[in-house]
Amino acid sequence: MFKIFRRRKTEEAVKRSKDTWFSKISRLFERDTLDQDTWDQLEELLISADVGLVTTEKLIHKLRRRVDKEKITQPEQAREVLKEEIVAILNPDGRSTGQSYPRIVLIVGVNGSGKTTTIAKLARSYKEDGRAVLLAAADTFRAAAIDQLKWWGDKVGVDVISHQAGADPGAVVFDAIQAAKHRQIDVIIVDTAGRLHTKFNLMEELKKVKRVAQRVDAAIPQQTLLVLDATTGQNGLSQARHFTEAVNVDGIVLTKLDGTAKGGIVLAISDQMNIPIEYIGTGEQVDDLAPFEPRDFVEAVLS
């Protein structure tokens, strides 16, 4: 039942993209023959979706090899192979969720990727699962970021631990963990300031936040989620690399998938860094968040 619901969400999320870009891919395989033109057009479509040249070439290479080896002549069959190869890249079994409670979820990302909104959605989703949630306003840098989180906290009905603007983010997390212990909290979601992954000092600060959480109670498992805007281009790879180096990213939340952006960069990230996608953000409403199911996703876009 839940699975069906999830699948419907994924389908809705990609519907708009499907109508344009993905249908073009599908149409490629509705012709009578497979030829060089098919591969050239597939390459263009994948690059236009921000999949990136490296992963695109790899994908097409694999696809063509299998087409040769398995003596596939029907475009229809080739499409099925393409689906399989994309699902394989998205590593459907590598998801990091399913840890025990209590847990700390650290939300990181560059400026404007949608961290605060994602936190509100996550909080709501945990709450619906019957979990006690606490938010930590560790973005003490951006003007009014704390107010924004509190506004969402009110709306979703969860408490927010905050300090003043400019306070030490580590101290906020420290207090949040202490408070969580007294209040029997299952999930602490930590909002951090948006930072460009190339800023040395800000990345050091992020490491410290993680260290503080570990020091307060090393027994609480931590999950670090990187929030990535679906319109991001090849720079997404660099983001994933730098954030992983600093705080070991466990999964990706792909946001703003409600536009025409395909978020193809996650394919490149999955392929080259093997970081799974955990959730997709599909709109501005607080329940517009769906767990990411690679098989459903690919099925939905390429059916």
Binding site: L196, F200, T231, Q234, N235
Partner: protein, 441 residues
């Protein structure tokens, strides 16, 4: 900023430069590399195709291939075409015939509109204008507060109302407020919206109708991928864009969006956001950016930055000191601090011809902490030691190390650096600057 792209393209041209004569095949191979580099930089596929086709056509004319320096010719053509794509000449903000001039910022969510609004207001005030900020993003939680906080920091008035008001009405009231305040520029921050959201795109048209702006600026995240062009096209169709501001250019985004949008929509890029601080907004110079992409450096921006942070009289004094060989550790420290004001070491090296490929090897922040270390060491010296570093012996060295929280080795290293700087400066003064760059390398 464009390190990776720069590196790739320089590599291509270095290879090309090794050949005395070029064949059609050589050109095609070089262009294939350029194509890869551009695509990896998120340049729009269509733009890449047109670009390489145009360059190829120009390169294959007989006189290019048969010239004595074909590689230089090819570089020149690529550079020219790149400048053409990046937008030809620099464009400024256009004021209205009758003040106040009105500017509205539009864009997707999270592009950096609110921060950019504050940066623009500061930029305008610094050029003698009286800006008024208008908070018309009534949708994102705390967006109005964010603009108010920024306005307060800068001491620039912010017109804000109840978020239940329609943005168009807020703009009407803001126009009245601007009259009262005798503002010369109104800068309206609008909410982020998807270019396919019919309702919100319609609302944006209402704001435009109410405001009658002279400038409608699209704020674009430099990290945007292939989608950038479609977004720009959609906004342009609805509200007629007059310019673009590219944000988050201080990261390692290769900013291919910059190359693409102008070329496809014809809308010029006017500014670039290069940091989180409110003064981190740079006018956009297409020619400079093109030469930066090609690894030719951007000396003009560097010189302008140097002029902005350095006191001319003080510079003359230092020059005199160098000449009379009385340049001491205090001056050395001051020089370092001034260089620091111009940006991080990486940013500066990026702009120096031939050094940009080294930038990647510098982890950001390292230079900052080194300057701090030097500061601590120099401040732990007595005034006499600062003026006569040769006085520093083993015992003094230990004392300074203790005082500055460093090791005697650090002190030695600094003294060595200082001596090298002294030497270098003497050479510069003697007009031997020609070999400077090779020494730095």
């Amino acid at each position: 900023m464009f390190e990776l792209l720069t590196e790739k393209i320089s590599e291509v041209f270095r290879k090309l430069g090794n050949k005395g004569k070029l064949t059609e095949k050589d050109v095609d191979e070089a262009l294939r590399q350029v194509r890869l580099a551009l695509l990896e930089a998120d340049v729009n596929l269509k733009v890449v195709k047109e670009f390489t086709a145009r360059v190829r056509e120009r390169c294959l004319i007989g006189e290019v291939l048969e010239s004595l320096t074909p590689a230089q010719h090819v570089v020149k053509i690529v550079n020219e075409e790149l400048v053409a794509i990046l937008g030809g000449k620099q464009t400024h903000l256009t004021p209205a015939g009758h003040p106040p001039s009105r500017l509205m910022l539009v864009g997707l969510q999270g592009g950096g509109k609110t921060t950019t609004a504050a940066k623009l207001a500061l930029h305008l005030r610094r050029s003698g204008q009286q800006p008024l900020l208008v908070a018309a993003d009534t949708r994102r939680p705390a967006a109005i507060d964010q603009l108010k906080v920024l306005g307060k920091q800068l001491d620039i008035p912010v017109h804000a109302e109840d978020p239940k008001m329609s943005p168009a009405n807020i703009c009407n009231n803001a126009l009245k407020r601007a009259k009262e305040l005798a503002s010369s520029w109104i800068i309206v921050d609008t909410q982020g919206r998807l270019h396919i959201d019919e309702v919100l795109m319609g609302e944006m048209e209402d704001v435009k109708k109410a405001l009658q702006p002279t400038e409608v600026i699209l704020v674009v995240d430099a990290m945007t991928g292939q989608e950038a062009v479609r977004v720009a096209e959609a906004f342009n169709a609805r509200v007629g864009l007059t310019g673009l501001i590219l944000t988050k250019m201080d990261g390692d985004a290769r900013g291919g969006a910059a190359l693409s949008i102008k070329s496809v929509t014809g809308v010029p890029i006017k500014f670039m956001g290069v940091g989180e601080k409110v003064d981190a907004l740079e006018p956009y110079h297409p020619d400079r950016l093109a030469s930066r992409i090609l690894g030719m450096g951007d000396m003009l921006t560097l010189i302008e930055k140097a002029e902005a942070v350095m006191d001319e009289d003080r510079a003359k004094e230092v020059q005199k000191k160098i000449r009379t060989a009385t340049f001491n550790l205090e001056d050395f420290l001051e020089q370092l601090q001034q260089v620091k004001k111009m940006g991080t070491m990486g940013q500066i090296m990026d702009m120096i011809p031939g050094l940009s490929s080294l930038t990647k090897k510098l982890p950001e922040g390292v230079d900052e902490s080194q300057v701090k270390k030097v500061e601590a060491i120099v401040y732990s010296m007595t005034p006499q030691e600062r003026q006569h570093p040769e006085l520093i012996d083993g015992s003094r060295r230990r004392r300074i190390a203790k005082g500055s929280g460093t090791t005697p080795q650090d002190i030695n290293q600094l003294l060595n650096q200082f001596r090298q700087a002294q030497k270098l400066m003497k050479q510069l003064d003697a007009g031997k600057g020609r070999g400077l760059l090779s020494k730095l390398k």
